[in-house]
């Protein structure tokens, strides 16, 4: 348990635990009157982005001297971020009349989580938020239209759309796999 406590502190879990619910409730309150996929994606992105700052520790080199395997721990950490962000969103939207599909939350959460993993590997744990947020910005501002548009706005597509599931799945596998194996950039 002592390990878990220290780990949680070095991965900014207390901050995330305070900031994520607070910001989710705030955004939901702002967007409640027009709760649409746009706001759901934005809320989910924000939760993942804020929690993703903990994907790297204070000192990556020091971490690696530990006498245990990091693989399962990294994987668990990343997946936990996704699960908690998704659950928080699903919980808060129960307060209102309009709800976004669970399948959409699963798809978008998985894809954005993968992007967080990729960002952590490429730029470092503190910048795990950059790619999910960048993706959300692009997805939210791309209008409907050609196939190129659909690729860029996969988080906004209907859940019937196979392409969006493939893209989200690919990002998820790439991000979680890469992060689990390599860890955050030092």
């Amino acid at each position: 348990m002592r390990w878990l406590g220290l780990y949680a502190r070095s991965r900014y879990v207390p901050v995330a635990v305070a900031a994520v619910p607070l910001s989710i409730v705030l955004l939901w309150w702002l967007g409640e009157s027009f709760w649409v996929p746009e706001f759901a994606v934005l809320t989910l992105t924000m939760a993942i982005a804020i929690a993703a700052i903990g994907l790297g520790g204070q000192d990556v080199d020091l971490d690696r001297t530990a006498g245990f395997g990091w693989l399962s721990r990294r994987l668990a950490h990343l997946l936990l971020i996704g699960v908690l962000a998704g659950l928080a969103l699903l919980a808060v939207q129960q307060l209102g009349d309009v709800r976004v599909d669970v399948s959409m939350v699963v798809r978008d959460g998985a894809g954005l989580l993968g992007l967080a993993g990729v960002a952590a590997v490429l730029f470092g744990g503190q910048f795990g938020w950059t790619l999910p947020l960048g993706m959300a910005v692009i997805a939210l501002s791309t209008p409907e239209g050609l196939t190129v548009n659909d690729v860029m706005r996969w988080p906004m597509m209907s859940t019937d759309d196979a392409l969006s599931w493939w893209l989200a799945g690919a990002l998820f596998v790439l991000g979680t796999g890469w992060y689990t194996v390599t860890g955050a950039r030092r």
Partner: protein, 461 residues
């Protein structure tokens, strides 16, 4: 100084920021279809709209700029060298300003690349450059710098890893929320007071090639962005708690100034660009300077339409291009002396073909004659089949057609039947009565009170 800057440019993400901004912007403008590709206010067609579209793009880019500023702002504390640098004799302000300058240069370069690509396209397309496009450029650059400054300042003030994502998300939420809650340039005001919506770094999408933000909007936004920049820089440079408290002064001053200056009603947000909307005439047919090359297309059909309209007792005497924006929620302006036409409204599926294009010749004449030379009262004519049917019957009657207006493909279901009955009822009457009914219908379209179809059918009006 130059050396220090060069080192900083290599060491910071400033260059990456420029690349990111340009890449995101160019992908957005070139690979996606959207209103920036259509209409006469498209990106890259004329300078005023191009400058405004580039500022509209800040909707995507501004959160990135703010996030990048925050990442840079907390660089020292992230590397754990704050104390080390505090112990050197070099004033902290110097280092902070070099950092600010580099990040600012990165953001400005990114924005200017986008503008340059847009303006090169304007030149290639033979578009018009006007002085009024300068203000959106200046304000766009100021908005970008304000994003950098706020990011740097807050990053320096609160150097926690969560600051950067929180600030970037906050910026995104702010621009998006201001965008959805603005009045969209119409008479109807949005969720928020108009002046609050105007505080956004991003601008609403331009809906007309001629309209540019009014002087009040420019001044107010200038004050607001200047305040943001001042606060960001003070937060970056100041070290003591008291000095940091003073840093709120510029942004508060900017906000107060903006609140005083910015227009209270969305109707005052835009004003015609004088250079672009100067009239160029061929006899009784006038277009705006910006669309001078459209005049030869318009002149012949427009004169023909005016000649046919002379049948009516009170008929318009000139055809003029309207400077109004494309806004389906606003009733277009009308003038008994003028036939007002928007170039974008003549872009449609060409009759008898499957292709879209600008109407020419006889088709253009018929379009001008719709409603006997009046604009529709309801913004979206196809959702009001009675009005649409009446307007087309009036056009075909004026043109002296022997047959009722033809049916279009993808027609709103009620329109054909309504046109047929109005046509039959109208032609059952003697010639003077027909004329009186069409003239009455035109008056109704000019006042927008009453149903022109009833007038054609001879009912009470």
């Amino acid at each position: 100084m130059v050396n220090a800057l060069r080192t900083e440019l290599r060491r910071t993400i400033a260059l990456w920021l420029a690349v990111l901004m340009a890449a995101v912007g160019l992908v957005f403008f070139f690979s996606f279809t959207g209103p920036w590709r259509r209409d006469s206010s498209a990106w890259g067609l004329d300078a005023p709209a191009t400058a405004q579209w580039t500022r509209y793009l800040l909707l995507l880019v501004w959160p990135m700029v703010v996030g990048a500023g925050a990442i840079q702002g907390m660089r020292d504390s992230r590397s754990g060298v704050s104390e080390l640098f505090a112990s050197t004799s070099r004033p902290a302000g110097h280092r902070a300003l070099t950092l600010g300058l580099t990040t600012g240069i990165g953001a400005v370069v990114g924005y200017l690349v986008l503008l340059a690509v847009g303006f090169v396209q304007v030149a290639v397309n033979g578009g018009m450059f006007t002085l009024a496009s300068l203000m959106p450029v200046v304000l766009g650059l100021l908005a970008v710098l304000a994003g950098v400054a706020i990011g740097l300042g807050v990053g320096r003030l609160l150097p926690h890893p969560v600051t950067a994502p929180a600030l970037a998300v906050l910026a995104l939420v702010a621009v998006m929320f201001l965008e959805v809650s603005s009045g969209h340039g119409g008479d109807a005001d949005g969720l928020l007071p108009n002046w609050v919506a105007l505080l956004s770094a991003a601008q609403e999408q331009p809906r007309s090639a001629f309209l540019v933000p009014s002087a009040a909007v420019d001044t107010g936004q200038f004050l607001w962005f200047a305040g943001l920049i001042g606060t960001g820089l003070l937060l970056l440079v100041m070290r003591s708690a008291r000095a940091r408290l003073l840093a709120v002064l510029p942004v508060v001053a900017g906000l107060v100034g903006a609140a005083v200056v910015l227009p209270a009603s969305a109707a005052d947000n835009l004003t015609p660009d004088k250079a672009a909307s100067e009239l160029v005439c061929d006899g009784s047919v006038c277009v705006e300077k910006l669309h001078e090359d459209w005049l030869p297309t318009l002149a012949g059909p427009a004169k023909e339409a005016l000649r046919l309209l002379e049948k009516l007792p009170q008929h318009p005497v000139r055809v003029e291009e309207s400077t109004e924006g494309n806004n389906t929620t606003v009733t277009p302006r009308r003038d008994p002396e003028l036939v007002l036409v928007k170039k974008d409204d003549t872009y449609t599926i060409l009759p008898g073909t499957q292709q879209a294009g600008y109407l020419t010749g006889h088709d253009l004449t018929m379009a001008l004659l719709k409603g006997a030379g009046t604009p529709p009262c309801e913004g979206l004519s196809y959702s009001h089949p009675e009005e649409e049917a009446a307007r087309r019957v009036m056009a075909y009657w004026l043109a002296g057609s022997a047959t009722p207006p033809p049916l279009h493909e993808h027609e709103y279901k009620q329109v054909p039947g309504l046109m047929q009955s109005a046509w039959t009822a109208l032609h059952a009457q003697p010639e003077p009565e027909q004329l009186a009914r069409v003239a009455a219908a035109r008056q109704l379209q000019l006042s927008c009170q009453g149903d022109p179809l009833t007038a054609l059918l001879g009912g009470a009006h």
